[in-house]
């Protein structure tokens, strides 16, 4: 094997392998556990119920994790290289937010973290991501749908990021230092996601008959899940009341205002489809999900669950 990649000094600069053969220490990833919140003040603010803070962080974290995974499925499948890279970057930003938020949930209330075999090196945020079943996920249902065409990705990223950005703009003043810091950083990232998807929304709407048809079809299909984003779950009400969270109902006006700007620029009317009902009134925030989430998790979690003692 080695002779295949053997290089002489003269052609070394042409070999993609040459850099891999020296200075291994530089790439010593994963030699030990890295806490994403190492050194961050994770104390619970006065008067805040730790389980409420943990449950609230899980909701925001699960939204990001599930949405990130769906967008990451576009990697190598997008219509062109630039959008492949753009969607991969958006997925990566959301995965980073998810990691911090799940770690925050675990630090606030360790009882939310699934038990793993003794000695497992999986950090708490990985245990939360890979060892919970669908009914323990608290993400909104918009995030979990099976991917459609590129127009569907554009509309879904737009709806998700308009809502999440409006939420994070307010979350910056959370009394919880971690949530406030995640939001302050997330706002900058989500602004890029929102504007990217908003530009594509207008481009597709004003493009060809076919691109407009697909865009409007995607908007019609996703619209029934838009109202769910502004429902106030008891956990969100409690978190907002304690000054650590944001009541989704309170961001509706801001989010609708931004969305209306995009619709107006694209000359696309607001859909009129009614909201998708929950099951006995329960929706994503209650752990009530559709089959797509179970199937997604089966794939996403399979390697970690097969190797709970694995060191990555």
């Amino acid at each position: 094997m080695n002779e295949h990649i053997h290089t002489t000094p003269e052609d070394e600069h042409d070999s993609a392998y040459s850099g891999l053969l020296v200075n291994d220490a530089h790439w010593a990833f994963g030699t030990d556990f890295e806490d994403p919140l190492a050194g961050v003040d994770t104390s619970i603010p006065d008067g805040v119920d730790a389980p409420v803070l943990a449950a609230y962080a899980l909701m925001l974290g699960d939204d990001a994790l599930v949405m990130s995974h769906r967008i990451s499925e576009w990697t190598s499948n997008a219509p062109d290289l630039e959008d492949d890279i753009a969607l991969s970057n958006i997925a990566l930003d959301l995965l980073g937010q998810a990691r911090l938020l799940l770690a925050r949930a675990a630090k606030a209330d360790a009882s939310v973290v699934p038990a793993l075999p003794e000695g497992s090196p999986a950090p708490p945020e990985d245990a939360l991501a890979f060892f919970r079943d669908a009914h323990d996920f608290r993400n909104v249902r918009l995030a979990e749908l099976v991917n459609g065409d590129f127009a569907e990705a554009v509309v879904r990223v737009l709806l998700f990021s308009v809502w999440r950005l409006a939420t994070f703009e307010r979350l910056r003043s959370s009394r919880d230092h971690v949530l406030a810091a995640v939001a302050a950083k997330g706002v900058k990232e989500l602004a890029y996601h929102r504007d990217y998807s908003a530009r594509w929304f207008v481009t597709l709407a004003q493009g060809t008959d076919e691109s407009r048809r697909r865009l409007v079809a995607a908007l019609d299909a996703l619209w029934p899940l838009w109202p769910e984003l502004f429902d106030t779950h008891a956990v969100e009400a409690a978190a907002a009341g304690a000054g650590v969270g944001v009541d989704p109902a309170s961001v509706r006006e801001a989010a609708e205002g931004v969305l209306d700007q995009v619709l107006a620029a694209a000359d696309v009317p607001r859909p009129e489809a009614p909201r998708r009902a929950g099951v006995l009134g329960r929706t994503g925030r209650d752990g009530m999900h559709g089959e797509p989430l179970s199937l997604m998790l089966a794939e996403m979690q399979s390697v970690a669950r097969a190797h709970p003692m694995g060191q990555w």
């Binding site: 995640v182 950083k185 890029y192």
Partner: protein, 167 residues
């Protein structure tokens, strides 16, 4: 600042970014603090550029390796999330190093207090080609090879190049 702290700081400031190796962590502005506790216990604070920045683990490992190599037995690398990193923290030396490596340095970061207005037109930036210095450049994509970069092309010399985008 004690002489030992000064020495630890100099070592930490030499460590380079794994994805932008022309920049030291100090030039990038992610090195927030270096402190020595006792004789040989160093505490380093770094801040992520983006939430999902995959370079954080490599930065931490590089800091530990360099500081241990310089004789500091115990190295603790902590994460500092607040205030959030901004490209305004990239030093003038860092900006010069980026440009010398063919990467367009960022302009001033936009204000992110209050609601962030929607922009439906491509972000207007005064970006000069790092190869030929022409101002005739156009945005290809707001997302690039790493989380922190946008892709541009120069319409004068036709070369594509990266631009570190303002956050």
């Amino acid at each position: 600042m004690s002489r030992t702290t000064e020495r630890a700081r100099r070592v930490a400031e030499r460590v380079t970014d794994p994805e932008l190796p022309m920049l030291t962590l100090a030039d990038l502005g992610v090195l927030r603090d270096v402190d020595v506790v006792g004789d040989s216990h160093v505490v380093v604070d770094i801040t992520p550029t983006y939430s999902g920045c995959p370079a954080m683990a490599a930065m931490r490992d590089d800091l530990v390796r360099e500081l241990q190599g310089a004789g500091f037995d115990r190295v603790e690398v902590r994460v500092s999330l607040d205030p959030a990193w901004t490209t305004d923290w990239i030093t003038p030396e860092g900006r010069a190093a980026l440009a010398a490596a063919g990467i367009s340095p960022p302009g001033p970061a936009p204000s992110t207090s209050g609601p962030i207005p929607l922009t439906l037109l491509p972000t207007a930036r005064q970006v000069r080609c790092p190869q030929c210095d022409s101002p005739a450049t156009e945005l290809v994509s707001e997302f690039g090879s790493t989380a922190c970069k946008a892709q541009y092309r120069c319409t004068a010399c036709l070369e594509p190049f990266d631009h570190v985008k303002e956050i």
